[in-house]
Every structure is written in C-alpha cells, then in structure tokens.
C-alpha cells in the first residue's frame, strides 16, 4: 500500500514549496524492533541491566543480532513467557518478581534495572509500569527499576533508545536554580562525548551533561534552565519528556560531518551568546581538519549514487552529509519514521528534490533500488548480501549506530564507512 503525502512542508505552507512528495509505504518492513537498542544501551550505562519480558523470539533476536558481535556476558537477559504463564497457571507478576530477584542476586553490581516490554507482553497487556513501581519498592534503595517498551508493534530499532531515555527523564534530578545547563541527549561513543565536552568548554559553555549518563548514579539534572541538543535523530519522546520538565530544545542539524557538527555546535553557541569570533576561533581548526580528513575519500564518493533503506532514522542526516560534503547523488532516502520538526533543519539542507520515503514495503522498495542501480545501498543486514549477490554494493546500516561517526574528528571515519565497500569493489578481481 503506497500513499503520496506532501512532505513536512505542507504543514508549514511556503516552507518547502517545490518538495517531492514523501512516499509513505505500508507493507513488510525489514527492520529491527526497539529491543535491538539494548545492544548499545547495555554497554553505555555500565551498571544498568535490561530485562526483556517477552518470548523466546525476543531472546533469539538479541543473541542473533547481538551475538554476532558480543562475546562477554551481556547486561541483558530475557524473562521468557511460557505456556503456563499464559494459561494462568502461574501468576505472572509473582513469576516476574521471582525472576528479578534471581537476576539481582546473580548481578549485585546492578543499580538500575529496566523491565523492557515486548510484543507479547504488550498484547497480553502485562502492566510493566506497575510491576516496576512495585519491584522498585522491594529492591530500593539499592536498585531502581524502570520500564519502557521496545516492542515491534510500537517501536522501530532506535526508537527503543528513545523509549528508554524517555523513561529515564521523569526520574532525573532537578537542576539547581542559577546558571543554565546544556544537556546532550542520545547515546554517543565515550570518545565523542569527550571531544564535544572539550569544544563546548572552549566555547565557554559550562554545565554540559549527557543523557544517558555512563552510570545510574551519574544521570544529568534537568529543569527550566536546561537547553538541550539532540545528538541522535530518533529522540521524539525523549525530547517531549525533557520539554515536560521545562527544558528547551535547540533545533539543529545532527552532528554528522563538518557542516552538521558546526551547525549543531552553533545552536548551542547562539543560545549561550558566544561571539562569532570566539566560535570561529574554537571551531575553525577542527572544522578544517574534518574537511581535510574527507579529502581522501572524495574521489571514491563524489558523483556516486546512494540509496538508503529505512533503518535507524539516521538516513536523512547521512544523506545530507554524503550529498553536501562528499558529492554523492541521492536516489532515495528511506526512513522508518519522519519527525517533521526535528528533521526540518536537515531537510532544509538536503534540498526539496530528494525522494524521501517513510515506512516500508520491502519488496517494492527493492524493485525501486534495482531499477535505480545505485553505486551504494545503505541497508539492514537482512538485505545486504542479497543485494550484493545481485551486483549492488551495500553498506550495512547497523554500523552507523555502532561506530563513532559524530563530530569533526569522525567525519573522515563516516566517509570511510561508505567508501570501503567501493574500495573493495575496486580491488577484488574474483
């Protein structure tokens, strides 16, 4: 089922007058559910544990998607609902309490436990919010217990992080009155956080914190004095929850590439009244370095065509970076979900003539991709080898959420990620 709807511009007449209509599709979606976000969240928050309340399918998803990469004992597990739970032979709340107790006994280092809802737990309407409240009382003050849903019927891939962070927001401490603070929302690699901290400090912006914090006890404070930047493009609910706490969103493109990173930092600098001279003094050098780091990949990328299948919502900022800074031509940019206002700064830069698609009917989309014969297709792991087998060069998109790609000093790395399949294609003679 396909419908053509006017792009975000239609909501703001005059903004994007000549835009190509967004292709909205409904059909088979070749995407992960929100549970998959746990793959990086469980590493990011070092004393948190994610207990999925779901089925064997959920457990199998986590180890198939994550087991490909992770060998250490993970800080996630699944409480698998069994037939006797469904048949009412076991009281599911008691079962859950028992499972949580067993888990916390095994992992005394855990300070924050997330009960994560799944498709089955949502369908049977298991109230994990109440369970979390009740169990929190049992295990307080040692362990705090929160809940969010990563179910596929409600969330796509990175929306799991959105749901998790949104669940954290109400319990964040209140900021002290006085100096404004800057909060950066969205899980980033530690090295990227450190780089942003240094730049913001040089700009004279103190009181910078990140959501999520690296530990349960190191979560940022929030309040009416808080301004926040989104580091990731998938934080719809988190942004709303932060606004509910009085924080103010600083709209900006996302910090991919020299241009995106500059505009993103500029949004904070403007809010703090940093002078143009100081901003230039701080950012000119790393910005030039970012541009230099891209140079070696430009011969490979420039003029090449790109097709993005929907996956993490990073597709639009990625396409903007690759078209404006690497000279790529865009065939289609798919996104699982298009947030009109968060994406507006990106869409303004990307241009109105790019074909966007939201949602998916994977068979039709693959037909379009085959017809377009792009030089690079960015897609999920289920599609990559089949497309390669048809002679199309691919970049599997999950690497874009597992690799430090944000900020000036990662701009070259991001270009390299896309260029490597092309390099390989040029080298292989078999």
């Amino acid at each position: 089922m396909t419908t053509l709807l006017p792009r975000a511009g239609a909501m703001r007449p005059g903004d994007l007058p000549a835009s190509v209509p967004v292709l909205r599709e409904r059909g088979q979606r070749e995407v992960f559910c929100g549970l998959t976000s746990i793959m990086w969240l469980h590493r990011k928050i070092q004393d948190a544990f994610f207990l999925i309340v779901g089925s064997r399918t959920c457990a199998h998803l986590m180890q198939s998607a994550a087991g490909v990469m992770i060998f250490a004992e993970p800080r996630f597990a699944t409480a698998i609902i069994e037939e006797r739970d469904l048949a009412g032979m076991a009281d599911m709340n008691e079962e859950l309490a028992r499972t949580v107790a067993r888990l916390l006994e095994r992992r005394p280092d855990i300070r924050l436990l997330f009960l994560v809802g799944s498709c089955p737990s949502e369908v049977i309407k298991l109230d994990l919010g109440r369970a979390a409240e009740r169990l929190s009382q049992v295990h307080a003050p040692h362990v705090r217990i929160l809940n969010f849903s990563g179910s596929g019927i409600e969330t796509t891939f990175t929306q799991g992080e959105d749901a998790c962070l949104a669940a954290l927001v109400p319990s964040l401490p209140e900021t002290l009155p006085g100096a404004p603070s800057l909060l950066i929302a969205g899980a980033l690699a530690d090295v990227v956080e450190d780089q942003f901290c240094r730049l913001l400090e040089q700009l004279g912006i103190a009181n910078v914190s990140f959501l999520p914090g690296r530990k349960a006890g190191e979560m940022p404070a929030v309040g009416p004095g808080t301004r926040f930047l989104l580091a990731q493009p998938w934080l719809k609910d988190t942004a709303r929850a932060l606004e509910d706490r009085g924080a103010v969103h600083l709209p900006a493109p996302f910090p991919l590439g020299a241009e995106g990173t500059t505009a993103w930092l500029k949004a904070a600098a403007d809010a703090w009244g940093v002078s143009a001279a100081r901003f230039a003094a701080v950012t000119d050098m790393p910005r030039a370095r970012a541009t230099r780091s891209l140079q070696r990949y430009l011969p490979l990328l420039s003029g090449k065509s790109l097709f993005c299948f929907p996956d993490s919502q990073i597709e639009i900022p990625l396409a903007r970076f690759l078209s404006r800074e690497a000279g790529m031509e865009i065939c289609e940019v798919g996104t699982p979900y298009l947030h009109a206002s968060h994406m507006k700064p990106e869409l303004d830069l990307l241009g109105a003539d790019v074909q966007l698609s939201e949602g998916q009917d994977v068979d039709r989309q693959m037909d379009r991709c085959r017809a377009a014969r792009p030089d690079v297709s960015v897609c999920g792991m289920g599609l990559a080898n089949p497309l390669e087998r048809e002679g199309l060069t691919t970049k599997w998109s999950i690497e874009l959420v597992f690799t430090p790609i944000q900020g000036y000093d990662q701009a070259g790395d991001l270009a390299e990620l896309i260029a490597r399949p092309l390099m390989r294609k040029g080298r292989l003679a078999v």
Binding site: S55, R56, A59, H60, I80, V123, N385
Partner: protein, 512 residues
C-alpha cells in the same frame, strides 16, 4: 517464566524458516509484527546466503490490533503468491500473532489461492526451533507425498533412497549431504530426493518412490521418516555416520536395507585411525572432554572422542529435551550423568565444576570456554558465521572423520609444547599463560576457580602456602583438575588443610 541469557534454540517458526529457506518453490507467509524479520539475517549474514529467505512477514502494528490484522494477513498472502509464484505455501504465526488468534490457516483457505496451502500450528510458548523444523517438514511430507507413487519392489534396478533432514542454517548440512551421497553411490545406492535442502514441493510428491530413507538429522527428519515408514512401508536408517566406526556401521545398515553386498571400503577409509594411532597422538590419551550439543551430534561426538581419539568423556549433555533418552543412554555407557537442559547457566556451572581439558560444544560453549580458558571445538548447532567455512568440511562420513580429528586437536597444545611447559614453566617467553604457539600465543586468562569450596554446606579447605605455590607450578590447563582432585582427596581423608604432601598423595592416587 524462564530467565535466559543465551538460548540454544530459537522459537519454532525459525525451524519452519530453516525448512522453507532450504527448499525451492516454497513460500512462507508468517503472521508477525515488525521486528521478526531479524530472522532473515541468520540466513543472509551467518550462513551468507545470497537470497532473502522466502518469507513474507505480515508486519502488523499496535494500531492494527483488534481491527484488521486478519485483513493484513490476507493481503500479504495474496501479494506474496502473486509476486513469488510459489508451487506451495506454508502459513503460520509467530509468538505475537499466536496470541491474537487470527488463524492464518483458516484465513488462507478462504482466499482461493491456486497453490496448495499447508497450515502450520507451531506453539511458540512451549516448543522450539528443532521441533518447529520437524513439524514443518512432517506437514509438508504428509501434505505433498503422493500415495499413488509406491516404491518399486523386488530389486528391479539400482536401489534408491531419499536423504532426509538437511536444512538451511544447519551445521555442515551442505557438506554432509555431498559426503553421504558419494558414500551411497560407492555402495551402489542411488539418491532419489534430498529434502528439505534443495527440494521443491513438487519433488516431495516423489518421496515414496525410494526403497528406504536415510535420516541424517533425527531432530528434523525422524517424524517425517516415521510417517513415510507407516504410510509407504519405507524403512529408515538409525545410524548417524559421524566418526569412522559409525560410518562403517552406517554402510552396513544401508547395504542391508538396500539388499546389496557391503562394498570394499579400502580406497575410501579415513586418515583418522592412523592419525590417532601414530605415536604423536599419545598426548591425546585420557584428555578429559565435555560434550554438549543437539542429541545427535553430542552422542556421536562422545563416541568418537572415546573410541577414536582415546579421550575420556567427563560429561555429556543436550538441549534437545525431545531426545533426552538416547543421550541418557549414551551418558550411562560413558559412565557419566547426562545434563539435559537448555539453560546456558546450568551448562556453564557443569563445565566450571568438571574443569575439562577440552569442550566439544556449540557457539554458546565457546563463550564459556573463552571465559574459563579451556580449548573448545564446535560440534553442533547453534553456530556462528565462522562455522560456515568456505572449504568442504563435512562432519559425516570418512572425510568428516578427518575433519573431526583436525578440528578437535587444533585447539589443544601440541604434545612437545605441553611437556616443555610442564618442565620449565617460568621461562619468560614460553610460559603456560602465553597460550598455544600455533594459535598465535594468546591464551585466554583463565578464571581460577575452586568450585567445591563454593558449594553450600561443604567445609572450606585451607591450602598451605607451600601447597598453593606448588599447585601453581602445574600448567594452567590441568591446574583446575589438580585442585579439584586434591580437594576431593583431602575431603575423603577427612582433612581440613591441604599440605604439600597431600598434594602429592592426591597425585599418586589420581595419576596425571
């Protein structure tokens, strides 16, 4: 509710996918929410398949619940049949769709599709992957095998068999089929149909033509073989040809079923018997191995380990509860207790307590082995991308036995190296924690464990300083065992302290 870190098997619809993906001309309409498509990457990434599995996921969302999920199913089924033009379809539900009770089989029947529809009932909350594969294959065979095509009896022409059980994502199924097909040809037996791997629905109708069935993977094919035996009088094989002895038994079994004389195998024999008898392999003798996997592979591996490499089997287990009985019998034959569990944490505890010198397991035991610093070779699904090698590497038949020898011996220290480490363990370049030199010299730092002391109600033993130091002179790959034996010995003697003498008394009692 079951607390699970890693699972050995996926849900049953994954088993159905393994069957559908193995076949040609079959399509699976799976009523499932967004996200269940993760299963595609098992096939495209882990097995490196160049095609998407032939599965259409209906992809319903929360807002569809209670309104038109059935309509979504019907549309997806009609679209898929039109797009993929399959010879037949299987229809079913994943765990979430099972809860909303749309009845995919009933819905598909109302659509008037012009292809056979085989409905699957795969209970997600009580059954698992191998059961799902078995049930799917059984339903396909039952639905498609043609009663009018009976085996031609009375020895007219060459005897003919089917090979049953190989699927997509199977551990070395591709290579096992090639090896066994060659072996059967050597015996003068032709292969009618291999299924599910490579078969189409229209070919399945010719299954009854064969004289008998070769069941390579009972977890997947035994139910179908039993049906074919009952319905068409086709007997089926019981021997799994893994290892030299079992392959010889298998040859005898198929020749008897086919009514042909046993062939001369002298050109065909494996290198394994000589490799195991060559003097170098003395260092393998008595190595303590722990075996875990699906029932078929675990039983076979234990036999090969004991009879063909002279290892000592110290533990054997399986996650296949449906096949617990034969594993218990095998365990009794090896003089150990069987571990029947699909709880990874229980397996980990058993291995930690036993301190084997080699683990023959699945991808999951690799995690455990890495943490405990114990060498490990994979013998069974579930497996990882590296267990789908580019080269020909069967587990079955005579070539399979060669592969077993190489794969199981490779993770171990070589004989001379083991001796020298025992003698000069403080050499700064060549010490026991540097790891096997042919493996790049990076041993996992093992967790020294004293499991007995952790058991509730067992009094703690004190090690004297001298005894503790002496223990450290024993190479790490046998240190855990030495500690365990010594403590058991001390407890036997009702002692509460381990001295230097007790350490050597225990050594005298237990040997190496």
């Amino acid at each position: 509710m079951q607390l699970t870190v890693w699972t050995y098997e996926g849900p049953p619809h994954i088993g159905a996918m393994r069957v559908a993906t193995a076949m040609t001309g079959l399509h699976y309409i799976l009523h499932a929410p967004q996200g269940d498509t993760y299963a595609d990457l098992l096939f495209t990434m882990i097995e490196r398949r160049g095609q998407r599995p032939p599965v259409t996921y209906t992809t319903f969302e929360a807002r569809d619940l209670g309104s038109d999920t059935a309509e979504i199913f019907k549309r997806a089924a009609v679209d898929a049949v039109e797009r993929f033009q399959p010879e037949a379809i299987i229809v079913g539900a994943s765990c979430t769709a099972e809860l909303i009770q749309d009845d995919p089989g009933g819905l598909a029947r109302t659509l008037g599709l012009d292809v056979p529809v085989i409905p699957l009932e795969l209970p997600s909350y009580s059954k698992k992957e191998n059961w799902g594969a078995s049930e799917t294959f059984y339903r396909l065979v039952r639905g498609l095998a043609q009663p009018s095509l009976r085996p031609k009896k009375n020895g007219a022409g060459r005897p003919v068999c089917n090979i049953l059980g190989p699927t997509a994502l199977g551990f070395r199924h591709r290579d096992d089929v090639r090896e066994i097909t060659g072996l059967l040809a050597h015996c003068g037996i032709a292969v009618n149909i291999v299924a599910p791997l490579g078969a189409s629905p229209s070919e399945l109708q010719f299954l009854p033509v064969a004289d008998f069935n070769v069941v390579l993977y009972p977890e997947i094919a035994e139910a179908a073989a039993r049906y074919l035996e009952k319905e068409f009088g086709q007997p089926y094989t019981r021997t799994i040809p893994i290892g030299v002895g079992a392959t010889e038994d298998f040859v005898a079994e198929v020749c008897a079923l086919a009514g042909v004389p046993a062939p001369d195998l002298s050109d065909y024999l494996s290198n394994l018997p000589w490799w195991s008898r060559s003097v170098d392999s003395n260092y393998l003798t008595g190595k303590r191995v722990f075996v875990f996997g699906d029932a078929t592979h675990a039983i076979a591996a234990a036999r090969v380990a004991a009879e063909e490499l002279a290892f000592t089997v110290v533990g054997i287990g399986t996650y296949s509860r449906e096949f617990a009985r034969p594993v218990r019998e095998a365990a009794a034959a090896h003089g150990v207790e069987a571990l029947i569990t699909d709880d990874y944490l229980e397996v980990e505890a058993a291995i930690t307590a036993l301190q084997p010198e080699l683990i023959l397991g699945t991808q999951m035991e690799r995690h455990i082995a890495k943490r405990l610093g114990i060498p490990c070779a994979v013998i069974s699904a579930p497996v990882h991308v590296q267990d789908f090698p580019a080269r020909y590497a069967p587990q079955m038949g005579f070539e399979g036995a060669n592969v077993l020898f190489d794969t199981w011996v490779h993770p171990l220290l070589m004989g001379l190296e083991e001796h020298l480490l025992g003698m000069f363990r403080d050499d700064f370049e060549f010490h026991d924690e540097a790891g096997a030199s042919h493996l790049g010299g990076h041993a996992a730092v093992p967790q020294e464990t004293a499991p007995a002391a952790l058991e509730v109600g067992v009094p703690t033993l004190v090690w004297t300083h001298d005894a503790e130091n002496e223990l450290k002179k024993i190479p790490f790959f046998v240190r855990g065992k030495a500690r365990r034996n010594t403590e058991a010995f001390a407890r036997d003697q009702m002692l509460d302290t381990v001295t230097l003498d007790i350490l050597y008394d225990a050594k005298a009692r237990y040997g190496r």
